[in-house]
């Protein structure tokens, strides 16, 4: 009958009604590093507030709680002293744990017959090296199959290939996810980014119709109407007749419409953009040969690892070479750095507190409700959200 203490953090106000946890949804796979970052030495990471040590040994990956239960030292300062056995040894007295089970298999300083051996177990985490990223499952439920749990652009590496990078934001993960609910911030924030500079203006004042995906994993947003320019009485025009927008307001996004695109007609892609649990957005191109996934990975309450996963359709070696060159020479800079950093500056400047939501937040509200109501949770927690305001 213990009443859980109400979290008085004003940053909880927008999320309490939807039961969206401060530290993220536990029972999902999350990318945590790029594959190349985990080399021979063990590495400590934090995910959903949990400290975890990762290591490779004998061609396999292991993830354990990053604290030796003996005297408390971080295992990530230790080493894989017995190559090929899948174990890691604590640097303090050599307590050695099996990465596959978390079992203590030796307490070196106590000798081979140490009675404590096999009596101590620490938490081990499901871990994968997939699509150029190290993935962890921080939850207590049986892990899903990673390939089925992420968009096909990542999950099917036979058809696609992925180029990931990440940036750490000093803010809570939910502020990134709000940003992805078709709140039309992009039309405002990014209109002067290099990526959109010579593009026609993106339409705004859209009517957003959220629709759940058939697979139950997220939502798409149908965009209806919208304008690329408007006169605000007493103020002036938006956008402000920027001289450099010599291209007509067409092309990207709206004029021909996604329904007429190659992406939809040739490749059968159902939506131009989708948001998925546990907190990612998938944005495609009309040509259907590229899609970006941005993933908000909760590190701790005030840190979020924003993964930008660039996914390309495999169309032969030459195209792949061109795609990689295009990424390194243009998109990696123009989007993953400049464009994304425009969001970073704003999200890190959010002052937690109450909100006044408006028409452009319809997608945000729908997305919050969806997440809170549909997130995978252990049976004991699978109740409806407490109150949907």
């Amino acid at each position: 009958m213990a009443q859980p203490e109400r979290d008085e953090d004003p940053g909880e106000l927008p999320y309490r009604a939807h039961n969206i946890p401060k530290l993220g949804f536990e029972n999902y796979w999350y990318p945590i590093l790029t594959s190349g970052e985990l080399k021979k030495k063990p590495k400590g990471v934090r995910l959903l507030g949990q400290d975890i040590v990762l290591y490779r040994d004998g061609g396999k990956l292991y993830a354990l709680e990053d604290r030796c239960p003996h005297r408390g030292v971080k295992l990530s300062l230790g080493e894989c002293a017995y190559k090929g056995t899948g174990t890691i040894s604590c640097p303090y007295h050599g307590w050695t744990f099996d990465g596959a089970t978390g079992k203590l298999v030796a307490a070196i300083m106590d000798g081979p017959e140490a009675p404590i051996t096999r009596k101590v177990t620490i938490r081990h985490y499901p871990i994968r090296d997939f699509a150029g990223m190290i993935w962890l499952w921080p939850g207590s439920m049986e892990p899903s199959r990673l390939e089925d749990d992420v968009p096909e652009w990542i999950g099917d590496q036979g058809k696609f290939f992925s180029m990931p990078m990440y940036t750490d934001y000093k803010c809570n993960w939910r502020w990134l996810v709000d940003n992805w609910g078709n709140d039309q911030h992009a039309q405002y924030v990014h209109r002067k980014s290099p990526e959109l500079f010579f593009q026609p203006m993106l339409p705004f004042n859209l009517t957003i119709e959220p629709k759940p995906l058939p697979n139950g994993k997220g939502m798409a947003f149908k965009r209806i109407g919208g304008v690329t320019s408007a006169e605000f009485p007493g103020l002036g025009t938006f956008p402000n007749k920027e001289w450099w927008r010599f291209m007509k307001p067409r092309g990207r996004g709206n004029v021909r419409g996604f329904e007429n695109s190659k992406a939809h007609q040739v490749y059968g892609i159902p939506n131009q953009s989708e948001v998925w649990l546990p907190g990612l957005v998938l944005v495609g191109r009309l040509h259907g040969e590229y899609a970006l996934v941005q993933w908000a990975v909760p590190i701790d309450e005030n840190t979020t690892r924003c993964f930008n996963i660039n996914n390309f359709r495999r169309l032969g070696l030459l195209t792949a070479l061109f795609d990689r060159a295009h990424y390194y020479l243009w998109r990696g800079w123009a989007h993953d750095r400049i464009f994304s950093d425009q969001d970073k500056v704003l999200l890190e400047a959010v002052v937690p507190g109450p909100e006044r939501l408006s028409k452009s937040d319809i997608g945000v509200i729908a997305w919050r409700k969806f997440m809170g109501g549909n997130a995978r949770r252990p049976p004991s927690l699978q109740e409806a959200p407490r109150d949907v305001a």
Copy 2:
């Protein structure tokens, strides 16, 4: 009947009895920047713990609460997108506020007919650009007339001109104000400062008689007696017969006396120094043609902006040129940097806790009582201080 929680901060001990608030008295004008610091771009400041965005547009100044109520981003990251309208636009979705009223006049991404427009209002603050400083009124009462609320040396810019600068101290504002209650620290702390180096010793062991000013805004202190040297049994002499004090102990301050000075007799200045609410000190010269105002501006609990406002009597162009040269070449360095920084080092090294006050603190005690008892407060708070110890 709710009992306000007693603040257990040991730094409150000296101030609780006099009801002097940790964050300063709200219903006063405060200088916050020099005029030149507020340029074309909006600027965020903090005053009495409140975050405020300041901006200039169409020759006017505006000050608003520095948080967009939509999704919480700081407005100070935004821009005045519609020049001449007195508005500022949030960088996230373009919510645009009227600086004069705080009203939301457009939510750009929602289009011109957005129903939320004019339904949302944020707090706006009275603001002035005066005497080379930007001034804010952080209180909830109707603002007073700035010119009437400050010493004439600042308020009457026809007769005087002001040269302000400031330094931020990492301590509570009350520690600066205590420093100005004629506690005779100057005679000790500053005796080796360049400004007083070749001066005769200032008298100490004075008897201080506090007297309220007729205008009810502060106090003056009558200084009686005092010595410029004393023998302490078992220790030695103070000051320590410093060889460089070849000037006789006369001149500054005491020998002829302020009553016989030009300041008093020609210019009719009533007191050589005065302290005023909400926390400033005015120190004149015997010649009556210069006065320094030092103002403790509370930024937050542990930060105080110490404004040094140098004020000169207008006596023609040539004198003004000389005054400015004198300030830039000597006084700006000797006083506003070196002399003031001697206080800064000590005030930042105060360990909060109980005090043992003595004879030299008579002025400090009187000044605390005066502030607590006479500060302008909304009618609901105009009770007597809780307990005058």
Copy 3:
């Protein structure tokens, strides 16, 4: 009958049962600086969480509470204005305190007859300059004689000479002391340090028999058995047949045994290593002409000054010169820097929380019990530890 609040810090778990205080045992002498660090100017230090100002005057040392009770400024910013009187003067208004008694002997700005003089007293601390170190007694009991309270290697500077240095660790002092309870971490942590690199492997899997010292000040540990190599099923050998260990596993520590050593037989040293209250370890050499004392000096909850005091037997000028050269050229680097820093890295990476102790912790447990049960305490606190788990 007030129940002291239970400290919920998870780092208290291992120490609560033994009543070992977070901030250290108060009624002991502690080294705080090397003698050369306290020069003409007063110096502020922190010890057991207490801020203390130290100064030299007229050939004597003084230690006072580092806060002027007048208006709270740190006395360590002041000066000894009256040379030879043993006083220190506050930099703010010249309150002058006698270092020997803590009495206020003058309030300079109030003049020689100030009524407050001699009515105010601040805490003074017993202080010594001994064996190249400044020592403080932070407790409320009458101080013991320093020479009797420390190992003879430090206490008898006629027979020995000491070379001290220290490093500050960012962790609680108890984690250092645990490290000294013969927990056999050295065999693991330091086996690749330059100091032990070409040495034969130290034996591990010892059986530790703790025995209290006859003087009641600490314990020694009898080491029984042990191996220098072992095969761990499924893992491999420890140590890992390191090629550079060409010396046979003999010599240091175990083969001839301490009982047959010159230290024991010629010099009558009873134990090769001892741990003493309030938290130090003494480690000798078989030749009996050198011993290291490492002392965990609690600065505050999360900072510990680890003193390494190198002690040499006085055997004539030539040997002393050789000892000093050996220290500067080899041991100061190999042990006090490299070897000790291997511990520092681990101790600063301890995550506070519950422990799982094992066979190698028998010494640690005994040592904790001894400390909690035998520490010098004022009579009112000389109860048995609350619960010995």
